[in-house]
Symmetry: C2
Subunit: 215 residues, 2 copies
């Protein structure tokens, strides 16, 4: 028997660091992604992950370091595959549909990761994580803008502001579908894709508003 036992729960539980880190990052990503960085406390994350707060600081150094780890994992999951999807040979609305399908498949395990890149509550100090985050968010935005711009040029529009606005709309559409999915967990990637096809169909087959009919 040990001489003293003032910290009854202390001591290792035999979980390797890599495993714990993954587990913590997973929990953190979910809470950061749903509640926002600013509204989340490190204590909340520790509780959710079933460990204590100092372990997080041991492994990640700071709240921001934890966020950085979440981001890097998110990048690993998304970046390559996302560019592959976006660089297919489809254009216009078909490219949009393919991108949505790919996104749903990618995000299936944890849709929250997407939110990290566009969390408005992350402190916007020039230095630190904000810059890094902006870099990756911009990569996704650039990808989207490329697709949107291509479609608009086909339609004879090339006003950069129009492209910028429609890109924002498009990304928001994708985001809202992921969010909706979050609230309907029984949906599969396949059923989401099918649903999107139906929704496109409804919108595109709707009667044109006046002033927009001809041309």
């Amino acid at each position: 028997m040990p001489a003293t036992s003032q910290r009854p729960n202390a001591g290792t539980k035999g979980v390797p660091r890599a495993d714990r880190e993954a587990q913590i990052v997973e929990a953190a990503t979910e809470i950061f992604g749903t509640r926002g960085f600013a509204a989340t406390s490190v204590g909340d994350i520790a509780e959710r992950a079933g460990i204590s707060k100092p372990l997080i600081y041991n492994y990640f150094g700071s709240k921001e370091g934890l966020l950085r780890a979440c981001l890097h994992r998110a990048i690993d999951i998304l970046a390559g595959e996302f560019e592959r999807i976006a660089s297919g040979d489809a254009v216009g609305l078909e490219r949009a549909l393919r991108t949505l399908e790919g996104t749903f498949a990618l995000l299936e395990p944890q849709p929250w990761i997407w939110r990290l890149f566009f969390d408005p509550t992350i402190p916007r100090g020039e230095e630190g994580i904000a810059a890094e985050l902006a870099h990756y968010a911009d990569r996704f935005t650039a990808l989207a803008e490329e697709g949107v711009g291509e479609m608009m040029r086909l339609a004879g529009v090339d006003d950069p502001l129009d492209i910028s606005a429609l890109t924002a709309v498009w990304m928001s559409v994708a985001d809202s579908l992921v969010t909706w999915w979050l609230e309907h967990p029984e949906e599969t990637p396949a059923s989401m894709s099918a649903r999107c096809l139906r929704l496109f169909q409804v919108v595109l087959s709707a009667p044109l508003p006046p002033g927009l009919a001809a041309e």
Copy 2:
């Protein structure tokens, strides 16, 4: 001359309570709306409004009370007009365009108010403001769902989940356009409306993806 002067700036400045309240609410709405509730401190708001923190507590009781006041003003500005716009006789995409136009005109003075209703950093305790907020957010959602549902029934779709998803998408589209506007302050409500018309045109005139062409 007064006997003592230990608080040099104390004392009334002759601003009636109603005016001060309006001024504070205006400042608070802007900061809450852009940075999020959780990431905003009462001190920041006081500084922005040019008054001291205790005055806010004097008038609104708590940070949550201040948010409630912001919400009520937002309701006053939006609710009636919004319902009038939505209850016009337009349907489908024309109703959508009309709603956007009305929204831009309404939000012109302070686009931030819109964000209050969908701020994810507001504490989600069952009791308190969250319930009230959900009530109003649901009213807007119901309005949108009515319009979307009408359009979808015209297109022969009546799956409630499809309606729910497209409603989420539609609200997100409106939100993203307001956000985009926030980042392009030189735009007027009229130019935003015109831009939306062009964007609709591009999307609707795009070549249909395969598998979606015929019926």
